[in-house]
């Protein structure tokens, strides 16, 4: 939602906002309007609220080396590059001179979790102001030293000069000079003279990653490091029946076998030795399994029958009594996995009463607290350092493997212990995107307009991040087990299972109900876009069904009910660039359209697709996708395109292929063979992204805007191609064939 600010503040906001580059949009933050002299901490924007001192964010050493500190984690979204640009811009240095320290409980501010769309708002804002104030301090100290007016000081690339006087930045700010409070009105540079911020800057990490530089937590090699693996139970309710630890301890290179309740692990000298031990452990352990999972084919029934906490999240109008047509439909989605390419990994070292953990967690401070509880140590004695992992797309196994490493490190103190989850561990034990059911019902009047709309959504929790030790898998496996935090629904307007359940369309009467299902037979948590993927899939499929029932063009039908002009604009742009009205049907091909505004307050995305359905095999293919997005003022067009392309491809994979497989006692999809995802031959033929630029408007989060519309566009395209309506994700070839035969 846009903040209400007056013109002057808006200009300041623009000056602030226009500067930030990157894949990460900046949400409008209300600006402090008090005078500089009395800027209370409470009114500092972004993460300055929790770390108000400049030197929490910027340090300059004696030689002039500049280091930026952020509590946010690099997830592969380019945040480090972006923050460096922000700082370099305000400090008037080449970005290559700026180093960045990210997410380390000992060195950086506490900025909670790195969850996509908030990073620039929280961290970028803080760093920008801190860097701007640092520049002001540098200028005034140089002026004092040179005996000139501040306006005569020229700052450039690490050096302050005035006439013949010169001094490096490192000579000007020493000791405690930067230990001052930030100011909300620090003088930001005029955006018109920006030399790096707002420019498309190539990502700094790509050259290193294509040439094999150490970049990931998996690449860490610490002095004396040894290797661990964990043996997970056969299923969520399995108990250890028999396990001959001595057989494993006798294997070459094994240093220690750890067994604490259902937590079983091994520490070995070399990595391959740990893998061999892991294999052997898997073979010899006997687990007693208790059925606890829904039987095949009963998943959705079990969701509807599970205890639920119901809340009406939106309600207006009253349903008309003289409605002509009432249509309803149910849409369903199974457990789906993050399935990160690099299984989760962590390194931990316990020495004396301290523990250091290197992890790709999305929140080093919450993880620290949880691990401290797990090890029964004070939090100050635990240090969590973020190191990049492979794409996580939400809450994957990162925190859990950190806990595994901490426990194994405690069993082998004094040496860093590296624990790498195996592929099977990640597939079977990561927290999944939860299964969801959306039941929609609409009433149309005689003219075919929607006059009443109801949406009921059932979902498990979309966030079970630590929290406490009970939210770490190992915490629930040790003999003296910890209790998981009681899951609670994420509140609107963001929401969890109910994210995007409220349609943006102007229906005179509607009722949206969230049925929160806290009991999780399989653990679930945040997967990119949370409930928005399924709710938008449902809403946009349903809109299409209603349009078809009334024999109205699906785009006209949507526009008929849409008042938001920016939504109308992207809908129109996508339709036009796709060539919607010029479309000619072809055997086996169909066109599908969908639209959503992420969370009803972030980016707008409209997607038109041409899909092909093979009737013989049931295979569905996206021939081409055309997207139009409105992310407010565009900061980095390439960044937005990347997010939308990636989001469309990933959602195509979820929608066509993905479902976690399980039987009564355990997850059975344990590798890529058992959980196939999209590969190159199934990638869309082409994706074109058209951006609506709105200079002056606040920046809107785009990273999760494409998933829901992509799913619905595919479903609508299939309906257009072969006349079958698919409501159960994924649309596997077998399901499509069944639907065609029916």
């Amino acid at each position: 939602m846009t903040a209400r600010v007056d013109r002057a503040a808006r200009r300041r906001l623009l000056a602030a906002g226009g500067a930030i580059v990157v894949s990460f949009p900046l949400r409008a933050a209300p600006l402090a309007r008090t005078s500089a002299a009395s800027a209370p901490v409470a009114q500092l924007p972004g993460s300055l609220k929790s770390e108000p001192f400049i030197d929490g964010w910027i340090r300059i050493d004696a030689l002039g080396g500049i280091t930026v500190f952020t509590g946010k984690a690099e997830l592969g979204q380019g945040i480090k590059t972006a923050l460096i640009q922000v700082a370099a811009e305000q400090l008037l240095v080449d970005p290559r001179r700026v180093a960045i320290v990210a997410a380390d409980t000992e060195r950086t501010p506490d900025e909670g979790y790195t969850a996509g769309s908030h990073s620039m708002q929280d961290s970028g804002t803080a760093i920008r102001l801190a860097a701007a104030q640092t520049r002001a301090i540098l200028a005034s100290r140089a002026a004092m030293r040179f005996g000139v007016g501040v306006e005569d000081v020229l700052l450039r690339d690490g050096v302050a000069s005035a006439g013949v006087h010169r001094a490096g930045y490192g000579e000007l700010v020493t000791g405690e000079v930067l230990h001052v409070r930030a100011r909300a009105d620090a003088p930001l540079r005029d955006p018109r003279s920006h030399f790096v911020s707002g420019k498309a800057w190539s990502r700094i990490d790509i050259p290193a990653k294509v040439s094999g530089a150490a970049a990931y937590v998996q690449d860490l090699r610490l002095e004396g490091m040894v290797h661990g693996r964990v043996l997970r139970p056969a299923g969520p309710n399995a108990t250890l029946g028999s396990f001959d630890a001595s057989a494993i301890a006798a294997l070459p290179g094994v240093l220690k076998v750890v067994q604490d309740g259902r937590f079983v692990g091994v520490v070995a000298q070399r990595e391959w030795q740990a893998v061999v031990a892991w294999r052997r452990m898997t073979q010899i352990a006997r687990w007693d399994e208790t059925p606890s999972l829904p039987l095949p084919g009963t998943l959705y029934r079990s969701l509807r029958e599970a205890p639920s906490e119901d809340s009406v999240i939106a309600e207006r109008g009253t349903p008309p009594l003289d409605a002509t047509t009432s249509i309803s439909a149910a849409y369903r989605r199974p457990y789906q996995a993050h399935a990160s390419i690099g299984p989760s990994c962590a390194v931990a070292r316990v020495a004396g009463n301290t523990c250091t953990v290197w992890s790709h967690t999305q929140g080093v401070f919450p993880l620290r607290k949880a691990i401290a509880e797990l090890l029964r140590l004070p939090a100050e004695q635990v240090r969590c350092i973020h190191v990049e992992g492979s794409g996580c797309y939400g809450h994957n196994g990162a925190d859990d493997v950190a806990a595994d490493a901490a426990l194994l490190a405690r069993a082998w103190p004094g040496r860093p212990v590296r624990v790498q989850w195996m592929r099977e561990d990640e597939h079977a034990w990561e927290p999944y995107g939860p299964p969801m059911i959306a039941e929609l019902r609409a009433t149309l009047d005689a003219s075919g307009a929607i006059v009443d709309w109801a949406h009921d959504v059932w979902s498990n929790p979309h966030s079970t991040r630590p929290g406490g030790a009970g939210d770490l898998l190992a915490g629930t496996l040790v003999a003296d087990a910890f209790v998981p935090t009681l899951p609670k629904p994420l509140p609107q307007p963001e929401g969890g299972g109910d994210r995007n359940a409220i349609p943006l369309y102007a229906f005179p009467s509607l009722r949206i109900t969230h049925h929160f299902l806290p009991r999780m037979p399989l653990r679930t948590s945040a997967l990119r876009s949370l409930g928005a993927y399924h709710n938008v899939f449902a809403i946009e499929s349903f809109m299409d069904e209603l349009a078809r029932a009334g024999k109205v063009d699906p785009i006209d039908f949507r526009l008929r009910h849409m008042r938001d002009p920016r939504a109308q604009a992207v809908i129109g742009l996508a339709a036009e660039r796709f060539g919607w009205t010029a479309w000619r049907p072809r055997a086996g091909r169909g066109r599908g359209f969908a639209f959503a505004r992420y969370k009803n307050l972030a980016a707008y995305a409209a997607i038109a697709m041409e899909v092909e359905v093979r009737r013989d095999s049931g295979a569905v293919r996206v021939v081409r996708a055309v997207a139009a997005t409105d992310s407010g003022e565009i900061v980095n067009p390439d960044g937005i395109r990347n997010q939308i392309e990636g989001g469309i491809v990933q959602a195509t994979s979820w929608t066509l292929f993905e479902a976690v497989a399980f039987d009564a006692t355990r997850v059975t999809s344990r590798d890529w063979g058992g959980y196939p995802i999209l590969r190159f031959p199934q990638a869309p033929g082409s994706i074109d992204v058209h951006l609506v630029d709105r200079p002056g408007e606040p920046f809107l989060g785009t990273g999760e805007a494409a998933q829901g519309p992509a799913a619905a566009a595919i479903a609508n395209g299939v309906a257009d191609a072969v006349g079958v309506r698919l409501r159960d994700i994924p649309f596997t070839p077998a399901r499509v064939r069944e639907a065609l035969a029916a």
Partner: protein, 162 residues
């Protein structure tokens, strides 16, 4: 254990390890090369792709004993961050990476493909690269990078021709 010797990126390496150790762990842990990555250990995702002799090979399922006396190439052998080889340059030009974890494997698979088929069709590229998974959805950029690499490689062959 006897020492096992093989060529890595033009230099002979000799390691004293269990001969059943997958090449992936030898490259990473003994030779400290980061390019080849652990993605699955099952030969299903391609993150560990290297080139042995002339073919792209999944190093996670290739025991080091099989490559004794043979020629292994990793991304580190194709170029450096400040001096990338043609395929690496193409990936940088197309900014064909999001988290980047799969990219070294993609580069090696592309290199092997282009050495064998200098001018592949789009279908050939998709089929050949199919074994390599990307979870971030960077596929279309990677395909563009491979196409670009084909022309960069052809140009470098032309420019080095007598």
């Amino acid at each position: 254990m006897t020492a096992l010797a093989f060529d890595v990126n033009g230099r002979t390496q000799s390691v004293d390890v269990d001969p059943a150790t997958p090449l992936l762990y030898v490259l990473r842990d003994d030779l400290r090369l980061n390019g080849a990555k652990f993605g699955c250990g099952l030969g299903q995702c391609g993150a560990c792709t290297v080139i042995v002799d002339h073919g792209a090979v999944l190093s996670c399922i290739t025991p080091v004993s099989l490559v004794v006396g043979r020629r292994v190439r990793t991304v580190e052998g194709l170029g450096r961050a400040d001096r990338p080889g043609p395929v690496q340059q193409a990936f940088i030009d197309e900014q064909a990476a999001q988290c980047g974890y799969c990219i070294a494997g993609m580069v090696m698979r592309a290199q092997a493909l282009l050495e064998r088929t200098p001018n592949p069709t789009d279908d050939e590229i998709r089929r050949e690269m199919a074994i390599n998974l990307c979870r971030c959805g960077t596929h279309l950029r990677i395909l563009r990078a491979v196409r670009r690499a084909a022309s960069l490689l052809a140009a470098s062959v032309r420019s080095s021709a007598p």
